[in-house]
């Protein structure tokens, strides 16, 4: 009886092994493959931080003292439009917002990106301060060209109008503490 049970157990074990072992091998192979596919250069917070520090220095060296202080203190830069009576707020990795400084009326959102076309599958985006500087250079160097390329939307499409109005209020308060005004230069 015992011998029969042992023989049956061995047979069942052998049959199970036939089924289970290939599955285990497959699972191990998939796991090894996943590990091989893992990117060699992963997210490196140190590298990102250093890139942002370099970008901040570059931005600071390009814009004027007030614009730099505005970005440092408030997190955005105001750029005056070429025409009369309007200006833009430049946020990192958010649409550019056009507004009327005197009334704080929001005019439009200009959605624009600076993608790296040299890589076939896209790439990491510019550091925050580089994105602000790219917008600043494109706006001050070729305002109409940038506006033409951007996707135009009504305020509120991507940027919360309440948040923008709060930022305009913060900007006004910030300028008062610096002894400035909201009028164009």
């Amino acid at each position: 009886m015992l011998l029969a049970l042992c023989a049956t157990g061995i047979v069942v074990g052998a049959l199970l092994a036939e089924v289970i072992v290939p599955r285990i091998n497959d699972a191990l192979s998939r796991r090894r493959a996943r590990r091989k596919k893992a990117p060699l250069v992963g997210y490196d917070p140190g590298r990102e931080r250093r890139a942002e520090q370099r970008a901040r220095q570059l931005l600071r060296s390009c814009v004027n003292e007030e614009e730099w202080a505005m970005y440092r203190d408030l997190g955005f830069v105001r750029v005056w439009g070429r025409g009369d009576g309007y200006a833009y707020l430049i946020y990192p990795h958010k649409p550019i917002v056009a507004f009327v400084p005197q009334t704080r009326e929001l005019l439009n959102e200009y959605c624009v990106e600076f993608p790296d076309m040299s890589r076939p599958y896209g790439s990491a985006r510019l550091p925050d301060s580089d994105d602000v500087l790219a917008k600043w250079m494109a706006l001050t160097g070729d305002e109409h060209g940038l506006v033409r390329r951007a996707n135009l939307h009504q305020p509120g499409r991507q940027v919360d109008p309440k948040a923008v109005r709060r930022d305009l209020w913060r900007l006004s308060a910030w300028e008062k503490t610096r002894g400035g005004s909201v009028s164009a230069p």
């Binding site: 570059l58 814009v63 649409p95 959605c111 600076f114 076309m117 500087l133 060209g145 390329r149 996707n151």
Partner: protein
């Protein structure tokens, strides 16, 4: 400017030295061929800071201390 890296020095030299100027011109063309835009930060007569977009080496002021290359703008999220 390079996504994921920030500022990268492409080339440097003195435009008054012919050999170095040639190298700067080649580096400039290479960047534009790769699809980048070029801008020169400057101070205007009224003291305002702004950038000049340049499309050829000749457009760069001789006294410019740098040219910044950055990816071309494209319409963002629809």
């Amino acid at each position: 400017m390079k996504p994921g890296h920030g500022e990268v020095l492409v080339a440097e030299g003195d435009v008054d030295v012919p050999e170095e100027e040639r190298e700067l011109i080649e580096a400039f063309r290479r960047q534009l061929d790769e699809g980048l835009w070029a801008a020169v930060p400057k101070t205007t007569n009224n003291g305002r800071r702004e950038a000049s977009m340049v499309k050829s080496f000749d457009e760069i002021p001789r006294d410019a201390d740098r040219v910044i290359f950055f990816p071309r703008a494209a319409g963002g999220a629809r």
